[in-house]
């Protein structure tokens, strides 16, 4: 009884809600002059055009090849808010054809009308078929291109089109959040009981409506020979059911670029589908989306992945003979092999987890992509009986991977995990500036997968990286010049970028750049870099600098020669999405200043200590002086690399304070009569 009542209540609630607000607030094809009054929405005041309604429906239905395909229908109404908004009337519709069989897509009945309000009257201009162009990009990919006619500031246009597709593996996703803000974005799908899809929904915006309903369906299967269902008849009817799902999001702002985000795509509101299994009547279910062990098994025999490792077994060992002569310690062996691959093979592209040329060709041409290089590394380690596995991941700019579902198209990079004794080493031989057990910053993008027999997830987090930098300056002033010795111990990643610069230009060019930053009146001497070639270690940079001076009565001194930053890295006053920095920061600057004979301190900045949100970060500036010297120590540190948008203001204020404080001056005055 109780359960029944509850059910009834819920049901009532839903049906009431649906009456109140579950329908698109206008009808396509029906416009009145009042519809033209719609202005810039308050939730996105920067908009050039506004999508009033964008409605898509995808239904999986029988095609003419004895199987199922899907029909996608889209209707959209857009208001052009200003003259830059006319770009919203330009459409590109990609159309795909299979490379291997006759599966295809077709765009049907593209219909568009532009409405303009001229002196209280609505005029209509139709999109003509001869203005829809088809551009052949390649054999299996065309684009339909067109621009809506008669668009200007204030126009409203409506467009509808239908796509019939045979590609059930790429069931049409829906992007709620696009280039223009939208008042109402709706997507409905209908999927027969024979197909199981995993729903991948992402974004920060809540669904206004998210409903599902089961409906009975009779599917008439037509044409084709045996068809995909393995049934022999040509035409027959299947009685079954289908699941209908519907999602609506209202008042969607457009997605806007912000600094310090790994990939904006992580935040876009959209829904995607992944076919997980097919269950035709009277036959065994066919699994499509596999689990991690199965995917790993497949990958390990894939011709552009694991198969390369197997094939390499015979020929990599001999290459290592000169490399490993006299070495027995397995860790030392791994180091030598890593350095050999890194230093002898060139990585030409980093966008794929699959090999491009293959290992045999890599050895011949000495160049390949990241997968070629790192799989060669794995093959070589294995040839020395070192336990090594591929680790697949997605780089930061690509967006994150899914931890539960092995969605392979989201992975674009492969590195190596070597297990030696109880230690685990993560290796990437694709960058000539990386050291042993170091990864590029771009790899720190959360979930990654080690392809062992039982594949395990690992999490590469920016928060786990600490970039520690210490600069020490010793400055003296004599009669005609100011001189200083500077030493900077860089953090690992800043070292990496300097190594890259020096490798591409030269060490000279690097110091030339430092000199240019001080100005032509400075001289830079005794330059030196420690550990430039020791790639496992960060570098230390040394130089002396000097500038001429006259014997002024007052000396104004900028004590922080190498400030944290001269400008606030967070310039924008507002923030929508989290701040994602590549690592935690810990930067210290130490000054030892010898007060010149005949001068005394007239003014000194005040010492301060501040913290960011109690424990998220801290800044200190400690200065003290006696008769002969001034000592300054200033340090900026952040306890984490990622911050929520709510913390943005305090982060911005914090950096603003650091910059201001580090720009303060010391004043020395000549002693009147010594």
């Amino acid at each position: 009884m109780k359960i029944n009542r509850l059910f009834l209540c819920t049901f009532l609630f839903f049906s009431l809600a649906s009456i109140a607000q579950d329908k698109l607030p206008f009808k396509f094809g029906k416009l009145s002059p009042a519809d033209f009054t719609q202005g810039v929405p308050a939730f996105d005041t920067g908009a050039h055009a506004l999508v009033l309604g964008d409605v898509g429906v995808s239904r999986i239905v029988p095609n003419f090849n004895g199987g199922f395909g899907y029909e996608f229908e889209r209707r959209i109404r857009v208001k052009i808010l200003d003259k830059n908004g006319v770009d919203a009337g330009k459409f590109l519709i990609p159309v795909y054809f299979s490379k291997t069989n006759d599966s295809k897509e077709e765009v049907k009945s593209i219909k568009g009308t532009t409405y303009n309000l001229d002196a209280g009257k609505i005029t209509e201009t139709k999109l003509e078929n001869n203005q829809v162009f088809t551009e052949k990009q390649s054999r299996n990919y065309h684009i339909k291109k067109f621009s809506m006619p008669a668009l200007k500031e204030g126009s409203i246009f409506e467009l509808s089109y239908r796509i019939e597709s045979d590609f059930l593996f790429e069931f049409r996703p829906w992007v709620f959040q696009g280039d223009y803000p939208c008042l109402w974005s709706e997507y409905e799908i209908e999927v027969p009981e024979y197909y199981d899809y995993v729903y991948l929904s992402q974004g920060f915006l809540p669904y206004h409506i998210s409903t599902k309903k089961e409906v009975p369906r009779a599917y008439k299967i037509r044409g084709g020979d045996a068809g995909t269902m393995g049934l022999k008849q040509n035409d027959f009817t299947l009685n079954g059911s289908a699941m209908q799902k519907r999602w609506v999001i209202k008042n969607i702002p457009s997605l806007k670029e912000e600094s310090f985000t790994t990939s904006l795509e992580n935040y876009r509101s959209k829904i995607e589908f992944q076919l997980s299994s097919i269950r035709y009547p009277n036959s065994n279910p066919i699994p499509i989306l596999e689990d991690w062990p199965k995917v790993t098994e497949n990958l390990m025999s894939h011709q552009n992945f694991g198969d390369q490792l197997k094939k390499a077994e015979g020929y990599v060992e001999e290459l290592l003979v000169p490399v490993l002569a006299g070495i027995t310690d397995p860790v030392e062996k791994a180091r030598r092999i890593y350095a050999y691959v890194r230093d002898n093979y060139t990585c030409t592209s980093r966008g794929s987890m699959y090999t491009s040329t293959g290992l045999k060709n890599l050895i011949k041409t000495k160049s390949g992509n990241v997968a070629d290089l790192n799989l060669l590394l794995i093959a070589m380690l294995k040839s020395q009986n070192i336990e090594a596995y591929p680790v697949i991941l997605s780089t930061r700019s690509q967006g994150q991977t899914h931890q539960i579902y092995p969605l392979m198209d989201r992975f674009n990079y492969v590195i190596c995990a070597a297990l030696i004794a109880e230690s685990e080493f993560l290796l990437d031989a694709s960058s000539p500036d990386l050291g042993f057990d170091k990864l590029d910053i771009r790899c720190y993008n959360g979930h990654a997968r080690v392809l062992m027999k039982d594949p395990v997830p690992i999490y590469l987090l920016a928060d786990s990286l600490l970039e520690r930098k210490v600069t020490m300056a010793t400055v003296i002033v004599d009669k005609d010049s100011l001189k200083g010795g500077i030493q900077t111990n860089f953090g690992y990643y800043e070292s990496q970028s300097r190594r890259e610069y020096i490798r591409e230009k030269s060490e000279n060019a690097y110091f030339e750049q430092i000199k240019t930053s001080y100005g032509t009146d400075y001289s830079i001497t005794r330059t030196h870099i420690d550990s430039l070639k020791k790639l496992d270690l960060p570098i230390k940079v040394y130089y002396d600098l000097a500038i001429g001076r006259e014997g002024e009565d007052i000396i104004y001194l900028d004590p922080v020669l190498v400030p944290f930053s001269r400008e606030n890295p967070f310039k924008s006053t507002s923030r929508m999405y989290p701040v994602e920095m590549p690592y935690r920061i810990d930067e210290t600057y130490l000054l030892n200043f010898e007060i010149p004979e005949g001068y005394k301190v007239d003014e000194l900045p005040k010492s301060v200590k501040v913290s960011l949100n109690e424990s998220d970060g801290s800044f200190e500036y400690i200065i003290n002086a006696d008769a002969s010297r001034i000592k300054l120590r200033t340090r900026v540190s952040l306890a984490k690399a990622s911050f929520n948008p709510e913390d943005y203001d305090s982060l911005r204020e914090f950096f603003g304070f650091v910059i201001k404080k580090q720009a303060e001056q010391i004043v020395l005055k000549k002693i009147a009569n010594p």
Binding site: K90, S147, T365, G519, Y556, K571, K660
Partner: protein
């Protein structure tokens, strides 16, 4: 006898080719060609054979050694094609540093794509390209290709040094034609004369360069086309699609275009009425042009649909009117038609758009245009209209189309004219800032900036492309202050002879000045700081080519808390150089700091040896613009 000789020489040629093709060891590149080079063209042979007015064969043999990563983009074989030409043959080979063959090109590796997949472009142009994507340096690629053109309006040009950082061992260009075929040649930076010969009733003319070292990349060096050899060719009579023309003179070339445009200017009735409505009550042609131009700008926008006759004929005015879009040709043709309806004579005008383009020589009529504008010659002046812009003020030609030759298409044929140029005294930036500093160092300021002519180009583009929110975001990020907040801002465009934009911004910069126990430190130049710094170069190769010219004048008034006197103010500065003049001065009157700055940048060509003077000039400005004032409490 002749034919036997021919066979013999052909045989020799083949043998020569084969022995070349066997290897291109890097070790044989002369030392001087490696300096400054990312790639070395070992051999390039261009052979253009004009069979008839609608058939030209182009054979090319190209061997290039790539020395490093920066040279990789020269390892592509690329050929554009459309309905008017086709690629008939392509072969390619990859060699290692020692000159050993690694592999040959496979047909399946050739990519074939539309040139542009952007929405704004619909055209027939496609591109085939290939790359071995080899990355072990150095390496050498060799390509041999043949293509056929079915038009002679555009003949291939010869540009043996494609860019900086590329040296040339040997490059030649041979034009083969019937004895009586007439073409014209214009050479640039080519020191010698061509070699002419005849063979089997054909005329051969050959140009060749050898051992050309790479040009280093240097700050503000002259554009590559002013320092590298270049030979341009133009036909006399030509054919494109089904149209024949003559370009022996600008007049004839103009006639051809006039003929193509004929009948394209018919307006629909609605536009005729609209024009009548617009000009009603207007007395002066200038006003009418401005009003009709405004109408066209509001009604249309740019969509690059370029199909048929190589994209050389405009779409009819009627189509632009109904669709509300078109490319530069269609929109300019439409504008000419609208003005004609108003009884104002205007001309469809061919131009070569772009910054730092080679100027079109008056004495060498050729089809070298890539853009169309509309010119309206009035009694006193010509009004120039850029019809693809929805925002440019009537009459203004910015850096893309200003100061160059253009071809008016008149009923009597073509007429070469010059588009307007903006001088130093036209390009003005003026800034006036009133600021107040509080006792804790926070600065509040009201900024009023004026941008005129070329100084307004960037800002014009920005304020028209951005919504207010986007403009605010831009300002949030791009002012030269360490930390600040925009309170309010506005833009106003003034309709003067030259375009002027007035910008007002009010903002606060927290902790802008440092106020310590008894002193106040402040940089009086608040927003307009010189940002370029150059490194000293004692081995500068090329002359210095400075393109920008303008005058900036800034006045800043800062009210500071009472009770301070000046302790350290930089002396007034007046830097007079050939490159420009910089003046700045700051003074304190009571509690008011008044800072003035004036910068004149000169356009021109300056000798390479004066480069370090330029470095110092920039450096001094950089420092002066960041100089701090120190005020101290009066005792």
């Amino acid at each position: 006898m002749i034919s036997r000789n021919y066979i013999f020489s052909a045989l020799l040629l083949m043998m020569a080719l084969r022995s070349y093709a066997a290897d291109y060891p890097v070790s044989s590149i002369p030392k001087p060609l490696v300096k400054y080079a990312n790639a070395v063209i070992r051999l390039r042979e261009h052979e253009v054979e004009i069979h008839s007015i609608n058939k030209v064969t182009i054979r090319e043999h190209y061997v290039i050694t790539i020395l490093n990563e920066a040279g990789d983009n020269h390892a592509y074989w690329t050929e554009h094609y459309s309905k008017l030409n086709s690629v008939d043959r392509i072969e390619g080979t990859l060699y290692d540093a020692a000159g050993n063959k690694i592999r040959t090109l496979k047909k399946s590796e050739i990519k074939d794509e539309p040139v542009s997949s952007q929405m704004t472009m619909v055209d027939d142009n496609r591109v085939k390209y290939h790359n071995f994507f080899h990355r072990e340096y150095p390496y050498t690629v060799e390509y041999q290709s043949t293509r056929t053109e079915s038009q002679t309006m555009f003949l291939p040009n010869w540009s043996p040094v494609p860019s900086r950082g590329v040296s040339v061992e040997k490059s030649s260009f041979t034009l083969i034609s019937d004895i009586d075929y007439q073409y014209r040649v214009k050479t640039y930076n080519y020191p010698s004369k061509s070699i002419q010969s005849t063979l089997r009733n054909k005329r051969l003319e050959k140009w060749e360069v050898m051992q050309v070292p790479a040009a280093p990349a240097e700050y503000a060096s002259p554009p590559i086309h002013e320092i590298a050899p270049y030979v341009s060719f133009a036909p006399t009579s030509f054919r494109i699609d089904d149209f024949r023309g003559d370009m022996s003179s600008w007049k004839e070339l103009g006639k051809f275009q006039y003929h193509l445009n004929k009948g394209m200017d018919v307006l629909p009735e609605s536009d005729k009425q609209k024009v009548a409505e617009i000009v009603r009550g207007l007395n002066f042609d200038e006003e009418k042009v401005t009003a009709i131009y405004r109408y066209m700008q509001e009604k249309t926008h740019y969509v690059g649909i370029q199909l048929g006759i190589g994209g050389w004929r405009p779409f009819p005015a009627e189509m632009v009117s109904s669709k509300g879009y078109g490319d530069c040709k269609a929109l300019s043709n439409y504008m000419v038609a609208l003005l004609k309806e108003a009884g104002i004579k205007a001309y469809y005008t061919l131009i070569r758009g772009g910054e730092y383009e080679r100027d079109i020589p008056a004495d060498f009529p050729a089809q070298v245009f890539n853009h169309v504008v509309c010119a309206v010659p009035l009694k006193n002046d010509t009004i120039w209209l850029e019809c693809t812009s929805q925002t440019v003020p009537s009459g203004y030609m910015g850096k893309f189309t200003g100061n160059r030759n253009a071809l008016l298409i008149t009923e009597d044929g073509g007429k070469l004219v010059r588009t307007p140029r903006y001088r130093q005294s036209d390009n003005l930036f003026h800034s006036n800032i009133m600021a107040r500093l509080d006792a804790s160092g926070n600065l509040e300021m009201d900024v009023m900036n004026n941008y005129q002519a070329e100084c307004s180009d960037d800002l014009h583009g920005r304020i028209h492309a951005q919504s207010r929110e986007e403009q605010q975001k831009y300002l949030d990020k791009n002012l030269d202050l360490p930390h600040y907040e925009i309170k309010d801002f506005s833009y106003k465009e003034l309709q003067n002879k030259l375009p002027v934009i007035e910008e007002r911004i009010s903002l606060t910069a927290a902790n802008y000045a440092q106020i310590s126990g008894k002193r106040l430190f402040i940089i009086p130049n608040l927003l307009n700081k010189w940002n370029s710094k150059l490194a000293i170069d004692t081995a500068r190769f090329y002359d210095i080519d400075l393109q920008e010219t303008r005058i900036e004048s800034d006045t800043v008034t800062i009210e500071v808390p009472a009770g301070y006197r000046a302790e350290s103010f930089p002396k007034p500065l007046d830097l007079q150089t050939d490159f420009g003049r910089y003046q700045s001065a700051a003074e304190l009157n009571g509690n008011i700091i008044r800072y003035t700055r004036r910068l004149k940048l000169n356009q021109g060509r300056f000798p390479a040896k004066s480069f370090n003077d330029l470095v110092r000039f920039y450096d001094q400005m950089y420092k002066a613009d960041r100089a701090r004032l120190v005020l101290v409490k009066s005792e």
